[in-house]
């Protein structure tokens, strides 16, 4: 099977300010990659380039064997900041069903299969009881769980998550990581996170993005490497890091 993501020599700048510099990245089937890095390091930008939402100045992206604009419908995406319009009149149920839209043409109604997928996804994130609530009435963490559910109902071949655990309480976070751990036996996952201590148990690779991308096939990155070579601030990872994964400094 070909690579799930192939990013080759990608450069991006906003109004002349360089944000990504010669980024190379490969994700294979059933890989679980965590991306860390300082705020403004370009993590969200990289995810958007992978999804074809931002066109790089230079370089190429292959997603699921094709052009991102063609293949992204098979990707489940949970963005960092929601562009969604939160006083919009929709319920949690409507929002999760929207995840099935990529399978629907005009005139086609949602069927039992769609509804079952939505039900399952809501159960998975523990939001089934809220299915008839207005999306705007939920707390930040609850909304996040709904958006995670929406990304799951697409039956994606790849999940792209941009700081998905923001605002989610610790019990739910643990369940969420367990869920990702289950999913990774079937699909590839790319997740931006600051919570490296929690995910290091589950991920296969950790990459650090600070304009340039550095990554490791093994999880043994020394804080020294992160701080000195890559300018990835260590305070992101130093707190409560299991010895097994990252050496203490």
């Amino acid at each position: 099977m070909e690579n799930v993501i192939d990013v080759k020599d990608v450069w991006v700048s906003y109004d002349g300010v360089r944000v990504l510099e010669s980024v190379n990245l490969t994700v294979k089937d059933k890989d679980f990659l965590a991306i860390i890095g300082p705020n403004g390091g370009g993590k969200s930008t990289l995810l958007k380039v992978i999804l074809g939402l931002i066109k790089p100045d230079k370089g190429s992206v292959t997603l699921l064997g094709g052009r991102p604009t063609k293949t992204r419908k098979d990707v489940g995406y949970v963005p960092q900041y929601h562009s969604s319009n939160l006083d919009f009149p929709v319920t949690v149920w409507d929002v999760v069903l929207m995840g099935r839209l990529s399978h629907k043409g005009p005139l086609q109604r949602y069927n039992d299969e769609d509804r079952n997928a939505a039900l399952e996804a809501l159960k998975t994130v523990g939001m089934l009881d809220f299915k008839d609530r207005q999306i705007g009435e939920l707390s930040g963490g609850q909304k996040q769980r709904v958006f995670i559910a929406r990304s799951l109902v697409t039956k994606p071949k790849l999940l792209i998550l941009d700081e998905p655990s923001t605002g989610i309480d610790s019990r739910m976070q643990k369940e969420f990581y367990e869920l990702l751990n289950k999913l990774k036996s079937e699909i590839a996952i790319v997740m931006v996170t600051h919570d490296i201590s929690a995910v290091s148990v589950y991920v296969d690779k950790i990459g650090c993005l600070n304009r340039k991308f550095h990554y490791h096939d093994d999880k043994e990155i020394s804080p020294h490497d992160l701080e000195v070579s890559y300018q990835c601030p260590v305070e992101l990872i130093a707190h409560g890091v299991p010895h097994r994964v990252l050496k203490e400094h």
């Binding site: 999804l51 562009s83 969604s84 929406r150």
Partner: protein
């Protein structure tokens, strides 16, 4: 009071009010929830160029209006999304450009431009039967397209980025929605006129948002509000001999403002 219904012009006016309210209820809901009131105002005013074109070519101004308003909707949609200027600036410029074109075309038209005031301020009492058929046809187009793309428009209005990642063209859907707004403008123009269309497009929908959290139900409610207010305005216009566009908007605004005053003055109850 009922004897006024025997007049053909009154019957047509009532039909026009109902047909206009249907389009206005459905499309107005999208305008309100997607917060595209400004671009809708831009398309409305730029469409004056189409009225001018109709006069200049010596055809029914509505037949100048239909292609021109669709064209303005598409140009405005593309320019506001793609141009390297702020969206509201782009809309503001095209808004005036369309009107300027209309003014010049009307100025160049030999003789007098009949009914010009009707297109600017509306006169529901002078809608001919041929316009009623046109309105009916446009309503059918709007209902069919919204029926087919209901889910897609919902996703578009809720979250454009997600719609794009789902493999849909958010831009094409947005342009389609703007074209439906353009057709709605054609439907509303004889009822309230270019200057007042935005009020009719937004008030019933905004009012309905207060009574339901469901997009589809909002549309039904907005249609009912629209019919109620336009008929009320129509009778006020007839009995007080005042322009119908203004009486419709006045009756609607009065209720709207009272509603929100009442709502604002009510003590907030912790729920």
């Amino acid at each position: 009071m009922l004897e006024v219904l025997q007049y053909d012009f009154m019957r047509n006016a009532i039909l026009a009010a109902i047909l206009a309210s249907i389009a206005c209820g459905i499309i107005g809901v999208y305008v309100v929830v997607k917060k595209i009131v400004f671009i809708s105002g831009g398309i409305t005013h730029a469409s004056f160029g189409g009225i001018g074109l109709g006069y200049y070519l010596g055809i029914n101004p509505l037949f100048g209006l239909i292609p021109f308003s669709l064209f303005s909707a598409i140009i405005m949609g593309l320019v506001s999304k793609r141009a390297k200027v702020a969206e509201d600036t782009a809309i503001g410029i095209l808004w005036s450009l369309g009107m300027a074109l209309g003014i010049i075309l009307i100025y160049w038209t030999p003789g007098y431009a009949p009914d010009l005031m009707t297109y600017l301020f509306g006169n529901i009492l002078t809608v001919p039967m041929s316009d009623i058929y046109l309105m009916l046809g446009l309503d059918l187009v709007i209902i069919l397209v919204v029926y087919a793309y209901y889910k897609h428009f919902m996703a578009l209005c809720f979250d454009e980025e997600f719609t794009t990642v789902s493999g849909l063209s958010a831009e094409k859907l947005y342009l389609l929605l703007l074209c439906l707004i353009a057709l709605t403008i054609v439907l509303l123009i004889k009822v309230v006129g270019i200057i007042l269309i935005i009020a009719l497009l937004t008030m019933p929908a905004s009012l309905s948002r207060h009574y339901t959290n469901n997009l589809g139900k909002m549309m039904y409610l907005a249609i009912i509000f629209g019919i109620f207010f336009s008929l009320a305005g129509l009778f006020l216009s007839y009995f007080f001999d005042a322009p119908s566009g203004a009486t419709i908007i006045l009756s609607m605004s009065t209720v709207y403002i009272l509603h929100f005053l009442y709502d604002g003055l009510k003590p907030k109850i912790a729920s």
